[in-house]
C-alpha cells in the first residue's frame, strides 16, 4: 500500500529569485527516483505539498507543465516558517514533493472553446502551467483563441519574463502584460488588470475564463466579466486555504462541504456562489 | 437566602436594568440541559431576563465572557458576580481590559460553589443523576433507584473551601446581602502539597497530576486572565511548546500558563470546573499565589488601585538566591 503522506525525495536542480522584492523564488526539482517521476503524473491546475524535513510542508501550485518533461517548477512566496526555510535552500539540496494533489483546470471541457486567462501577481503559477500546456503542439489545435492577461504592480514583480516575452512574439496567443503604474523603462501596457480586461473585452460566446489573483483583483475583475455577458459557469477560479494533509481528511481547508485540497482547488464561480465564502 | 429568592432578585435586577436601558445586556446563568451544569446566558431584554437563575452549580467565571466578546460589541454589560468573579473583574479593570464604567456588577455572595464531579463520585461514578437540588445546607441528588442527601460542604469546589472573600469586592448592587466571612481553611497546606517531596517525587507527582490532559485548552479558555490575542502555545515562529501529547510538551504548557497567571490569579476555580478530565489545575496556580503572598504580601483582585506584584518592584525585594 502506498502512503500518501510520504513525500517523494527530490533534488533542487536550480533556483531563481523571481522578483525585485525577493519574496518569490522559483525552484526546479528533479526526482531522485525516475519511478517517482512517472508516478507523479499531473495536469495543469494541480498543486503539491513541498516538504522540508524538520520544518513541514506547504501547498504550492505546480507552475511547470507536464509537456516540459520531468522537472517540476514551483514558485514560492515567502510568508511562513516553511517558505522562509525553503527560500534559504539552494541547488543540490534534498527536499520532498508530495502529490500531485487536487483537481485541475477543466482542460477536457475547454476543448473547442476560446480561452481567456487572467492572472494577477504571483497567482500566475498554475496558469503558466496551463498556457504552456495549451501551447504545446499536441494540444494547441484542440482549442480556439487564447487570450492571456497578466498584471503585477511593477515590472520587477512579474514572474516568468522569458515565457511571456516569448508568448508575446507568437501569433497563436494574445498576450497582454500590464503593470499598475507607469515606470521608466517599461514599454508594455499600464493599468490594473480589470481595466485591461475591459479594454481587451473577451467575448463570452463559447468561451471559458480562468481567473487567478489576489482578492482585490478578483473583486474588481468579476464585474467586468459580468458586464461583458459572461455566465458564472464559464468562469473558473482557483482557491487557496490553509492545508495539512492535502488529501481531504484533516479538515481545515473546507469551503462548505468541499475540500479545497481534494475537491478543488479549481472551482467555477457558479459553484462558489452556492458555498460559504470561507476562503 | 435560598436559591429561589436569589434567582428572583437577579431576574428583577436584570429586568430593571434592561428596561431602563442602563445596560445593553445582562450576563448571568441559565439552567443547563443536564443536571449540575448551569451555563452562561446573555439576556438582552426583560423577557430573556426571566430565564436567569442562581444555584450552587453556577461555576463558569462570567468575567471571562466580558473579554471574549468581539471588540466593538462591548456596550455596557451587567454581570452576575460572586466573590471570585468580582475579583476577576477588578483584575481586568486593573489590566485595562475593561473600564469600571463598562460593567454593572450585580453582586451575589457566594455560598461556596459545588463540584459536580465530587457529587458524581459520591453517588457512584456509574449512577445516572437526573436531578440535583439544594435545600439549605444539603444537596438532594436523584436518579433511577436512588435519592440521596449530601451535605453541601462535602462537595464544594476545592477553591471554595479556602476562599476568604466570598462577598463581591466591588458591586453596583448586591442581591441577597453579604455572607458570613469564612476563615478560609489552611490554605498554605493545600496550596503546595508537593513541597514535602524530593525533586524526583515532585516531578512524578506533577506529571501524574497532568497525565490525563488532552490539551483542549479549556482551562485557558475558561480563564478570564487568558486574554492574550495569541497564546504562547499557538505561536509558531518560534514554537515555544510542541503540540504533541509528550509529557514534555504537556508540562511545558501547564508551567507557562500557570506562570502567566502569577500575581493575577484570583483562584476562581474556573479552570478546574472547565477541565473535562477533572485535572487539579490549581496545583500550580495555588502555589504561585502562596509565593506571591509570602514574598510580596499581595493578594490579587481585592482593590482597584494596587499595582500587580509582577508589574512593580521594591529595592528590598528578596534575592537570597541570586549570586
Amino acid at each position: 500500500m502506498s502512503n500518501p503522506y510520504v513525500p517523494y525525495p527530490v533534488k533542487i536542480s536550480k533556483t531563481l529569485v523571481e522578483t525585485e522584492d525577493k519574496q518569490l523564488k522559483s525552484f526546479w526539482l528533479d526526482f531522485l527516483d525516475p519511478a517517482h517521476a512517472e508516478a507523479f503524473a499531473y495536469t495543469p491546475g494541480q498543486f503539491a505539498e513541498l516538504s522540508v524535513s524538520g520544518h513541514g510542508e506547504i501547498p504550492i501550485g505546480i507552475a511547470s507543465s507536464p509537456t516540459e518533461g520531468d522537472t517540476l517548477l514551483f514558485t514560492v512566496n515567502k510568508v511562513g516558517s516553511v517558505s522562509t526555510q525553503l527560500h534559504q535552500m539552494n541547488q543540490g539540496e534534498t527536499m520532498g514533493v508530495r502529490g500531485p494533489l487536487g483537481n485541475s483546470y477543466p482542460l477536457a471541457e475547454m476543448k473547442g472553446k476560446d480561452i481567456t486567462i487572467v492572472a494577477g501577481g504571483f497567482a500566475v503559477t498554475t496558469l503558466r502551467s496551463t498556457v504552456t500546456w495549451l501551447l504545446d503542439p499536441a494540444h494547441r489545435g484542440d482549442y480556439g483563441d487564447i487570450t492571456f492577461i497578466y498584471g503585477a504592480r511593477t515590472p520587477g514583480l512579474l514572474l516568468y519574463e522569458d515565457q511571456w516575452r516569448d508568448w508575446q512574439k507568437r501569433d497563436d496567443i494574445n498576450c497582454h502584460v500590464t503593470i499598475d503604474r507607469e515606470v521608466a523603462g517599461w514599454d508594455g501596457m499600464v493599468g490594473f488588470v480589470p481595466t485591461v480586461c475591459e479594454q481587451v473585452a473577451p467575448k463570452p460566446d463559447n468561451a471559458v475564463a480562468l481567473i487567478c489573483g489576489p482578492p482585490v483583483m478578483i473583486r474588481f475583475t468579476q464585474p467586468v466579466f459580468d458586464k461583458l455577458g459572461w455566465r458564472a459557469e464559464q468562469i473558473v477560479m482557483s482557491l487557496e486555504n490553509r492545508m495539512k494533509c492535502g488529501i481531504g481528511i484533516c479538515g481545515r481547508c473546507n469551503v462548505g462541504p468541499e475540500y479545497v485540497c481534494k475537491d478543488g482547488p479549481v472551482f467555477t464561480k457558479a459553484q462558489l456562489e452556492r458555498l460559504p465564502a470561507e476562503y | 437566602m435560598d436559591n429561589q429568592a436569589l434567582t428572583q432578585g437577579i431576574r428583577e435586577a436584570a429586568s430593571r436594568l434592561l428596561a431602563e436601558g442602563t445596560v445593553d445586556c445582562v450576563l448571568g446563568y441559565q439552567a443547563g440541559t443536564v443536571p449540575m451544569r448551569e451555563r452562561p446566558f446573555f439576556a438582552y431584554n426583560p423577557e430573556e431576563a426571566q430565564r436567569l437563575i442562581w444555584s450552587g452549580f453556577c461555576c463558569n467565571n462570567l468575567a471571562d465572557f466580558l473579554i471574549r466578546r468581539p471588540a466593538g460589541e462591548i456596550g455596557k454589560v451587567a454581570v452576575v458576580a460572586q466573590g471570585c468573579v468580582s475579583r476577576s473583574i477588578v483584575g481586568l479593570i486593573k489590566e485595562h481590559q475593561l473600564t469600571r464604567e463598562q460593567v454593572h456588577v450585580i453582586g451575589v455572595a457566594s455560598p461556596g460553589m459545588l463540584d459536580r464531579d465530587k457529587v458524581q463520585a459520591l453517588v457512584g461514578p456509574d449512577k445516572v443523576i437526573t436531578a440535583a437540588a439544594e435545600e439549605g445546607d444539603e444537596l438532594v441528588v436523584e436518579g433511577p433507584g436512588f435519592n440521596q442527601r449530601i451535605a453541601r460542604n462535602k462537595v464544594m469546589r476545592d477553591n471554595c473551601y479556602t476562599c476568604v472573600q466570598r462577598n463581591p469586592v466591588i458591586f453596583d448592587e448586591l442581591i441577597g446581602g453579604e455572607s458570613e466571612p469564612t476563615h478560609g481553611g489552611v490554605i498554605d497546606k493545600v496550596a503546595a502539597p508537593w513541597e514535602r517531596l524530593d525533586p524526583a517525587g515532585r516531578l512524578a507527582a506533577f506529571a501524574e497530576n497532568y497525565q490525563d490532559c488532552i490539551r483542549c485548552y479549556a482551562c485557558r479558555d475558561a480563564c478570564p486572565l487568558c486574554y492574550c490575542h495569541v497564546c504562547f502555545v499557538d505561536e509558531s515562529s518560534p514554537q515555544w511548546c510542541g503540540k504533541t501529547q509528550d509529557e514534555s510538551d504537556v508540562l511545558t504548557y501547564h508551567i507557562l500558563r500557570a506562570f502567566h497567571c502569577a500575581g493575577r490569579c484570583v483562584d476562581c476555580g474556573a479552570c478546574e470546573s472547565a477541565c473535562p478530565q477533572g485535572i487539579k489545575v490549581r496545583r500550580l496556580t495555588s502555589k504561585i499565589e502562596k509565593d506571591v503572598r509570602e514574598f510580596y504580601a499581595y493578594a490579587p483582585g481585592l482593590e482597584l488601585e494596587s499595582v500587580p506584584p509582577l508589574s512593580m518592584h521594591r529595592p528590598d525585594d528578596p534575592q537570597g538566591f541570586i549570586k
Binding site: - | 503546595a192 508537593w194 513541597e195 525533586p199 524526583a200 517525587g201 515532585r202 516531578l203 512524578a204 507527582a205 506533577f206 504562547f232 515555544w240 510542541g242 509528550d246 514534555s248 510538551d249 508540562l251 511545558t252 508551567i255 507557562l256 500557570a258 506562570f259 502569577a262 500575581g263 500550580l284 502555589k287 504561585i288 509565593d291 506571591v292 514574598f295 510580596y296 506584584p309 509582577l310 508589574s311 512593580m312 518592584h313 529595592p315 525585594d317 528578596p318 534575592q319 538566591f321 541570586i322 549570586k323
Partner: protein, 146 residues
Amino acid sequence: MSETQEFEPRIAAFFCNWCTYGGADLAGVSRLQYPPNIRAIRIPCTGRLSPTFVLQAFRQGADGVWISGCHPGDCHYIEGNLFARRRFTVLKNLLEYVGLEPGRLHFSWISSAEATKFQQTVIEVTEAVKALGPCRFLRKDIGMVA
C-alpha cells in the same frame, strides 16, 4: 556516554548585554580560565528574559540554565533587572516545586568589570550542574531515527 567519560553538562547562559556579557568579554580578554560548559546567549536585559526561554533550554537538552545581569541599580534600562528579580523569584520557586533539582537554575548579578566574579560563577554553576548529572526535567525526546 561511556562510564569512563566524565559527564560534561551543557548550560544555557543568558547574559545581559550591558553587564554580564561585558564581564564575560573582560574575562576572555584577561585570559581567565573557566570551564567550557556554558553556551552564552546575549539578551538585551534580564528583563527581556521570558520564562519561556528557560523552559525551552531545558526542553532542548540543557542540563542547567544560568541567567546573569546588572546589579540592582545598574540596569541600562533603569529597572529591567528589578522586574526580572521578581519574575525569577516566582519562576525558580515554581520550577523547583514541580521537580527541577535545586542547583540547575542559577542567577547572578555580574557587572562588566567583574571578570573574576564571572570566572568564579562559571566554575560554581558548572560544578553544581555537573554534580547533579544529566537533566531529564522537561527534556523533549522524539526517539531515534528508525
